[in-house]
Amino acid sequence: MKQKLPDEVRKPKARARGGVPVAHKKGTAESPVRRIDPPSQVVIPMLQHIGAPCEPIVKVGDHVLAGQKIGDTDAFLAAPIHASISGTVKAVAPVVTVGGRRIVSVTIESDGKMEHDPANVPPHVTNQEEFLAAVRESGLVGLGGAGFPAHAKLRFPKDAKVDTLIVNAAECEPYLTTDYRECIENSWDILGGIYALLEFFDFKEVVIAVEDNKPEAIETLSRIASTDNKKDNRIHLMALRSKYPQGAEKVMIYTVTGRKVPPGKLPSDVGCAVMNVASVAFLARYLKSGRPLISRTLTCAGSAVKEPSNLRIPIGTQASAVIAACGGFASDPYKMIVGGPMMGFALYDDTVPLTKQNNALLAFAEDEMKIKKERACIRCGRCAEVCPMGLSPVFIAEKLRKTKDPEELQALGAMVCMECGSCSYVCPAAKPLVQNMREAKDMVRGMKKA
């Protein structure tokens, strides 16, 4: 299955510890991204990123155009939110969103015209400050899943010397194929985005990192990377071992550069910036068109979906509309997941809107989602073996059962956990280790506040 990679493709600098060989199940890899018809209504939450929520700046009855800003805030760690279709504001009220939080959301009823806001013109950008301001206005957040506001990510601390930009195309979660499609279909946009970033930032090196089980993506990207001569050969392609969680930021930085981000530190502290491949490609399109982030690609797959496919959906499309665009359910779904099966959130109903960070909607029949019987921990240590962050969930869970002392939990490194789920995945006793880690983290945070 593995093909020989072109010579110029780099090999990883370091081998990350741990990880689990999760089945890839990328059944939609060869399904081209299809733009769905604008749904009859969209529900746009005012928090679609890590940070502070936006305040709605429209009211019920307003007519809005696609691309018109409908939410913003003065907070630094935030990204403005735009209407994704044209139509009439029907409601501005709290809605239960992915993950269960109630968040004020703007419901827009479509007028069926998909009229774009003429105010969306290509931004005038001549220096880094203007570039960052434009990135903020675009509403871009990390499209890989975490949703970190892009302008905040790119505003490095003054004393940081960031010399490496990593374009993350690992897509290590099962089922997800949107980044892969981005590489195949929009490879020139990826290059364009990198050029734009190179223009305003002093990166010595740009590494596009792809898992080695995606030869077609690697081939396409290596062709693109090799056309780069005017940028002093600063753009490189790297094939990574395909092992979950290869795409996690700290793991990615370590495998690509050999640098370790210490606990509580940022990538910029080790001179790195990591951006999702779709985010980079979006930047190129935005700088050309001025159209903010109002749609995204999404993989809709799983055993209970009739026609699994990759879709481009307006932000705020409800789960039911996405399923309908995929021919409906093949069988009665038992579980619905937004995001990948390792880190995604289970849905409890289909009215939940999909937002900027959501890269997949998965629906499964019961036989695939059977819950393993929980048994006593046998201390096999597999959780510690697979933890990419070098933690020992077995001891953290034990401490949680026995003393619940936040100081001891912190000493065991609980805060370093990124909840990738490898420990729970591998646990033969089916212990809820990720939940234990979350509980431990909450307790440590509580201690800090007190």
Binding site: R17, V20, V22, A23, P174, K250, Y254, K260, V261, P262, P263, K265, P333, Y334, K335, M336, I337, P341, M342, M343, G344, F345, A346, L347, Y348, D349, D350, T351, F364, M369, I371, K372, K373, R375, A376, C377, I378, R379, C380, G381, A384, P388, M389, G390, L391, S392, V394, F395, L412, G413, V416, S424, Y425, V426, C427, P428, A429, A430, V434, Q435
Partner: protein, 333 residues
């Protein structure tokens, strides 16, 4: 409006289960069982059956008395039963087997909280309880293959007992020649006196390789345990390889190092901890074999190291990813 199953992530899990792991251990123990039946006759099978049945029943009854969930389905009691039987001479009275099983499961395992919570290995401790309670029965070993010739109650000394007569100050090779030890191939295939499951080195190695291939155990503990014994015996035997080989292939070393010292609940979690644990087992085993009145020390070595395991775990706790750098920075500041 549809309502679906909601759980926390991850939503997929590997197919590994506790029962599956225990089943793998049972499979890995089968070659030694076949060897035991061939070498010691069908009474070997009977001892194993009685031991397994008593362990499972004891587990069932103790859980019932404590009003806890029935756990015999996880097969861990079966593993303990097989291991306990492997540590017994084939002609041991069956009631003693039952006694050992009750000590192992009721006292050592269930009274401390059941699977994963026991601080010493149940089978090892069961054996030790029997050894101190019934020293004669526990050290009377049938002659290999004697059962097939219909010869009843022919006993033999174990190679270890013979080896312990050697005066390490004198000429080792000459003394070994005068001892009429079994040949090396007899040692390797288990045609020697000893407990019913410990004699056949080749069968135990096959089981160990199977467990390694199935990722049930890592080879760290067996290699560091056996390696340490090998080094010490080589030094004690003044470089006599044959002396070292007899030490390695006789007694409970293979069985203990591969199947009992690797017990998850009672051995360290981290790699460094496993190495320390294996070396510790090796040193204690060698010291007992060389300097004490007992011919064998594997069980005691493992039990002592079991007790030290929480301390080893504490000092060998791996540092979270990237921590080393932070310390350096602090030192600079």
């Amino acid at each position: 409006m549809k309502k679906w199953m909601v759980t926390a992530s991850p939503h997929v899990r590997s197919g590994d289960t506790v029962t599956g792991i225990m089943l793998d251990v049972i499979i890995a123990l089968l070659p030694a069982l076949i060897a035991a039946v061939r070498i010691f006759g069908f009474r070997a099978l009977l001892v194993v059956a009685v031991s397994v049945a008593s362990c499972v029943l004891t587990e069932y009854v103790s859980r019932k008395i404590m009003k806890r969930e029935n756990t015999i389905g996880d097969l861990s009691a079966v593993v303990t039963g097989i291991l306990l039987a492997y540590n017994l001479p084939v002609d041991i009275p069956l009631w003693m087997v039952v006694f050992g099983a009750i000590a192992a499961i009721a006292v050592v395992k269930q009274m401390f909280g059941g699977l994963g919570q026991n601080f010493v290995n149940p089978a090892i401790t069961g054996r030790i309880v029997l050894l101190v309670s019934f020293p004669t029965a526990m050290t009377t070993f049938a002659k290999p293959l004697a059962w097939a010739q219909g010869a009843d109650a022919v006993t033999t000394a174990t190679p270890l007992a013979s080896l312990s007569q050697i005066d390490l100050g004198g000429n080792i090779a000459a003394q070994m020649n005068s001892l009429s030890l079994p040949t090396m191939s007899q040692m390797f295939f288990g045609l020697i006196g000893g407990s019913l499951g410990e004699v056949c080195t080749v069968a135990l190695l096959i089981g160990g390789l199977y467990l390694w291939a199935r990722h049930v155990i890592s080879p760290i503990v067996p290699v560091s345990f056996i390696g340490t014994v090998a080094v010490i015996m080589l030094i004690a035997g003044k470089g006599n390889f044959s002396f070292m080989a007899y030490e390695l292939f006789s007694g409970g070393l293979m069985l203990g190092a591969i199947f009992m010292a690797t017990d998850y609940a009672t051995s360290p979690v981290s790699r460094a901890g496993k190495i320390l644990f294996g070396i510790g087992c090796g040193i204690i085993t060698s010291v007992i074999r060389l300097f004490s009145n007992l011919p064998e020390g594997v069980s005691y070595a493992i039990m002592i190291m079991n007790i030290v395991t929480p301390l080893i775990d504490r000092v060998t706790l791996p540092k979270p990813f990237g921590t080393v750098k932070e310390k350096k920075e602090k030192a600079e500041a």
